[in-house]
């Protein structure tokens, strides 16, 4: 997995949580995990400055 880099200080962030998001549009449905039928949102935290960020799982 490619580490998310902190948009605040540039350090490598830690993936600490995931959440399933129900698709709201046909495009999101196409992008959804085929087994989970949902999008996966990742939540990352920076061990250097504490900044938190999220992104869709790739």
């Amino acid at each position: 997995m490619d580490k998310m880099m902190c948009p605040h200080c540039g350090a490598a962030m830690n993936l600490h949580a995931e959440k399933l998001i129900e698709p709201n549009t046909p495009k999101e449905a196409e992008e959804a995990d085929p087994e989970l039928h949902a999008l996966i949102e990742e939540f990352h935290a920076c061990p250097q400055c504490g900044w938190c960020a999220a992104r869709r799982a790739r």
């Binding site: 830690n14 600490h16 959440k19 935290a45 061990p47 504490g50």
Partner: protein
């Protein structure tokens, strides 16, 4: 202190109503947090410029969002209105998500009656969980709030200092533990 940075725990004053007695509670809690060397500030939801013709992350306020992002936990001061929380408090809280995940929250209930917001606290637990916040198992209940403070906002019942101390002990423990987890333990 955790991770070399002081803990940051703001106080959210969760009502916009005129004459709100919860403001005295929020100011009291702010001082209690501050005396521990924790970085804190008062977030008065009435000062947030959020529109009411949309909701959720679409109307996110950058200052509020950034403040929560760098925080390790929250204290929410909420009055009990008709057994539940103020609609404006929910409106504000719903504007963020990633900023809350795996952070500690302590709830201070406020009521004019004797129960000290026990019902509003119970009602708060479900949205807290969905927002990714981690509730602690210690609340503070400011019942009969109109008699608890004098006209200048001075607390008249000193037992609340000790109760609040226990509440903050639990909140700090949870915030410290969750910070370590967020920053060091991967979910996969």
């Amino acid at each position: 202190m955790a991770g070399g940075r002081p803990l940051r725990i703001p106080i959210v004053l969760g009502t916009v109503r005129k004459g709100r007695a919860s403001a005295n509670v929020a100011r009291f809690l702010l001082e209690q947090v501050r005396t521990r060397g924790i970085t804190t500030e008062l977030i008065d939801i009435s000062s947030l410029p959020l529109p009411t013709d949309d909701a959720g992350e679409a109307i996110k306020d950058k200052v509020f969002s950034d403040t929560i992002n760098v925080s390790d936990g929250l204290v929410i001061v909420t009055p009990e209105y008709n057994h539940s929380f103020p609609g404006m408090l929910k409106h504000v809280l719903d504007t963020n998500l990633q900023e809350y995940v795996h952070k500690a929250v302590g709830i201070a209930g406020v009521s004019a009656g004797p129960f000290g917001g026990t019902r509003v606290i119970e009602n708060m637990l479900s949205p807290m969980r969905e927002l990714g916040l981690v509730t602690i198992f210690f609340d503070v209940n400011f019942g009969n709030v109109l008699k608890l403070f004098d006209d200048s906002g001075y607390l008249l019942d000193s037992s609340f200092v000790k109760r609040t101390d226990k509440f903050l002990n639990e909140l700090v423990w949870m915030a410290t533990t969750l910070r370590y987890g967020r920053e060091n333990i991967s979910v996969r």
